[in-house]
């Protein structure tokens, strides 16, 4: 097919270009050809008569009115092959690790969602060794769940830990708006953990154009979905989706879209959802689990807010700890009744008491906490934080459950914890017989 080249560029913006052309398809891939012969990619995003609007992958800077646009007659695609494992790609799908370009099958990017009847109900727990996750907000295969954290928290470390400590067949890292040292950190962690041969990285750093950043999740998910269809259990890590949403806002703004909340486009929810919904446990095939990062100051900000409505919960990280309040795994109920039979009850009891102690913290500021019970609640809160909330302490689920009982027995009487008499009979440690807690204080 003859590829048509056009040269009458009308306007050039930060990330948008418009040109008069005919026979062009919506979402078609195009090439910007510079006078010196260099090339960059662009994609059609709107048509109006013979007016074609394109999104420039490399941004608008340096594009001149004597550039030519060639429409390539194909949509945006990404290569797919096993040889991609261990490699690093940029947001436009080109390798950036000095390795060779691969000849491979091309797969579509941002395709339709899977028919819901082809999804399985997620039923398989993923053991992470992090008590705040395994005990309180269990991670389940095919879950989509982000870490909510302020910029600067060690969320990427936790992300890399979870991906490498679990049994993922394939790890795909989608880095959006990474600082160079964060990219370096991911690379190093994956190599240290010996996971390089099962990892593919799609990396966008601050020096790259924002449109390439916008592409990263789609590329990572398209490749991940392919592996999942082949029966693999795939982990896709997306860091950081707040940056991604910011790029979306910039592009929408450049297109004169009417902003909804805080300048974000009205379709922010749908845009985030169409990425996160790629997570699935597929009937007769593998699974795709998405762990994301949403940096934020305040959970009511449009990005964490919309994300919270889309994802199956969130892990809330604060001051290096995984918080109980604010964290949630929506799928935990699918699995935490099949672990140990005290799991659900002790999880609830611990949470209820912690919430009660939070009220005392408020009261303490007024200087009104003097009674014994309240003081014990406050002590309980300290022990809880010290023993359970550090996400980088590794503890098997069963040990973590025993630890919970130890902590309860250390601070409370049996009738104060609101657990059924049957469970208390089975698990309540008698004085001085802590299973886990004592060992820890001995060290």
């Amino acid at each position: 097919m003859l590829k048509k080249t056009y040269e009458n560029i009308d306007s050039i913006g930060r990330a948008i270009l418009s040109i008069k052309a005919e026979g062009v398809h919506n979402k078609e891939l195009a090439e910007v050809i510079y006078p010196n012969g260099n090339k960059a990619f662009a994609q059609v995003i709107a048509l109006n008569g013979d007016q074609v609007t394109l999104q420039l992958f490399g941004g608008g800077f340096g594009v001149s009115t004597d550039c030519k646009i060639r429409f390539l007659g194909k949509p945006v695609q990404i290569g797919f092959s096993d040889d991609m494992l261990g490699r690093v790609y940029s947001g436009n799908g080109q390798p950036i690790d000095n390795g060779p370009e691969l000849l491979s099958d091309m797969v579509r990017v941002a395709g339709p969602s899977i028919n819901p009847v082809k999804r399985l109900i997620p039923k398989e727990m993923i053991r992470t060794g992090v008590p705040m996750i395994d005990v309180f907000n269990t991670l389940v295969r095919s879950q989509k769940i982000p870490i909510f954290a302020k910029a600067g928290e060690p969320y990427n470390r936790l992300l890399a830990n979870i991906a490498t400590q679990t049994d993922a067949d394939i790890i795909i890292i989608g880095g959006v708006g990474l600082k160079y040292d964060e990219y370096h950190f991911f690379k190093q962690r994956i190599e240290e953990a010996g996971s390089k041969s099962k990892t593919i990285m799609f990396i966008h750093t601050h020096r790259d154009s924002i449109v390439e950043g916008l592409m990263v999740p789609d590329l990572a998910l398209a490749v991940g979905e392919r592996f999942a269809l082949q029966g693999k259990n795939v982990f896709v890590l997306l860091s950081d989706m707040t940056q991604w949403s910011d790029y979306l806002r910039q592009v929408a703004n450049a297109q004169d879209q009417i902003p909804a909340n805080q300048g974000y486009p009205g379709d922010l929810y749908s845009q985030l959802a169409s990425r996160y919904e790629k997570a699935a446990d597929i009937d007769g095939a593998g699974s795709l689990t998405i762990l994301g990062v949403t940096t934020m100051d305040d959970v009511t900000h449009p990005v964490p807010d919309n994300t919270g409505y889309i994802t199956e919960g969130q892990f809330y990280m604060k001051d290096g700890y995984l918080e109980l309040f604010g964290s949630l795994s929506r799928l935990k109920q699918q699995v935490n009744d099949k672990t140990r039979h005290d799991h659900r009850s002790i999880m609830n009891a611990m949470a209820r008491l912690l919430s009660e102690s939070e009220e005392r913290v408020k009261a303490q500021k007024f200087g009104s906490v003097k009674d014994d019970y309240s003081l014990r609640l406050l002590d309980y809160r300290k022990t809880f934080q010290k023993e359970l909330m550090d996400p980088f302490l590794f503890l098997e689920l069963e040990d973590a459950l025993d630890l919970c009982w130890d902590i309860l027995a250390k601070h409370f009487k049996k009738e104060e914890v609101g657990l059924s008499s049957k469970l208390i009979e089975t698990y309540w440690p008698e004085k001085g017989t802590f299973k886990i807690l004592k060992n820890m204080t001995d060290e």
């Binding site: 009847v117 999804r119 009417i258 929810y269 749908s270 949630l328």
Partner: protein, 581 residues
Amino acid sequence: MKKAKGKVASVNESLVGVKTTEGAVMNGEVAYIIIENGKRLKSEVIDVKPGKMVYLQVFEDTSWMKVGDLVEFTGLPLAVKLGPGILGAVTDGLQNPLYELAKKEWFLERGLEVEPLDTNVKWHFTPSVKKGDIVTGGSVLGSVPEKLFQHKIFVPFSLQGDYTVEDMVAEGDYTIDKDITVVRDTNGVTLNLKMAFDWPVKKPMPFHERSVPVEPMPTGIRVLDALFPIAYGGTACNPGPFGAGKTVLQHSLARHSRADVVIIAACGERAGEAVEVFKDFPELIDPRTGKSLMDRTFIVGNTSSMPVAAREASVYMATTVGEYYRKQGLDVLILADSTSRWAQALRETSGRKEEIPGPEAFPMYISTLISAFYDRAGVDILADGNIGSLSIIGTVSPAGGNFDEPVTQATLLSTGAFWGLSRALSDARKYPAIDRIDSHSKYPSLLKEEEVSFLLELLRDGKTIASNIILMGEKGITDEAYIRYQKAELLDAVFLQQNSFHDVDGVTPSDRLRLMFNVVKEIIDTPIAIKGKDAIRSHFNFIRQAYIDWNAIRIDDIGFEKQKSQILNLVKKRAYVKENV
């Protein structure tokens, strides 16, 4: 009217401009855009502009469309097919059954359409009118058994005036494609009728004789049935921030509500949640009917990653199906989750149409659309004297969990019950996290009116005392106030809180609710002779423990009465006995 034709002139995501080349165009009619590979993309006319320009919202992805692509208008509004075979089905927002689509493709590819109702199934039809009878729109022609009910076969509601039955098939097995009767109008024009017919989704079905919702509908959820009930034919607004328990509450309602038919409109929400329902429900037995829960359920799934323009269609389709089963004389419950996603879809389209935005960029007309939607709920006294009802529970997902936003406010104005979910309660794991103070309902409770006020008063007192404790410490308040506070806490812990995932505690039938309330009332009414906060707290801890154990025991279990006595003994043991009688 000659059907119109046109060509694509502009493409902006789901909004496509078309220049018509022939024929007249109706606002709201369905059109198909034929793209290069021959796929036909369904769309709806939403605007007609000067210069023969028509704007369509396309229910599919518009990739690979180009200027000049052919557009065929159908002359018909977006409609739903009504007839036997709806119950137990799972469809997308345009009534394509998902299991049928899955036989063609793993992914929801564009341009796929399948028959909305199975045309191969034969239904056993028993006619109830004969040759020579006079019928009109809405008259019953006969019935077929469908799952749990006798499904009445109607003369399409759109027919007006009298028709004479010319011909009627004998009792027997027929598919919905087969003509079952021929009717003739007063001008002598004859019409063939089948067991199924189309109805435009955006047109409310007229009531026969509209009545008001007054009878409470038990949901099995104590905080609702006791304090904030919904009635048959009523409406409820259920807003909440993410993670406050909307989804779990919706699933509980779908399982336990005492409705004949439950329709779940999964609008713009997670696919996984709909999957949980349609994969679990077929396995679950409804204790009242002894049949699978799926037999009374219909699911419309336009989940968040499906085309945004079809969200609106999915909500209206669910409502139309609900109205149809109400005409069958059944009690229908629609769970619309979430109406905010529908409003957001309208916002996206409105923005692309460059309409002047209202608050938070929602279109100005959003409040009118929302009230008109809830107005389709209600009680209908049918021609045969039977009563049917349609109740709607709409969840709202307010941005930032702030109820002071346009969709929540418009919904509040249009509904009879308000179940506000609270982040503070869900953080404290006090589920269902329905705010006990700010929620309200205008429908009658399963308890008596004075009993409801009795509970609400205690809860309000408890809240006041709790804030005093924070300010002044436990030592700063009297023992009497502390006892009142402990009673309010106990009421919350053992009666209002409920473990949805527990077989027994998860659903409370009306008779058990009454028993539980009586015991709670006894505890609250009993004065207590204990001095000192620690002793008081310990007393209530023991009662709470015993009551929670009781909540887990089946009502027909031998331990049930025993545990009840144990609670009452605990209460009496420390009861205040008047001296010097």
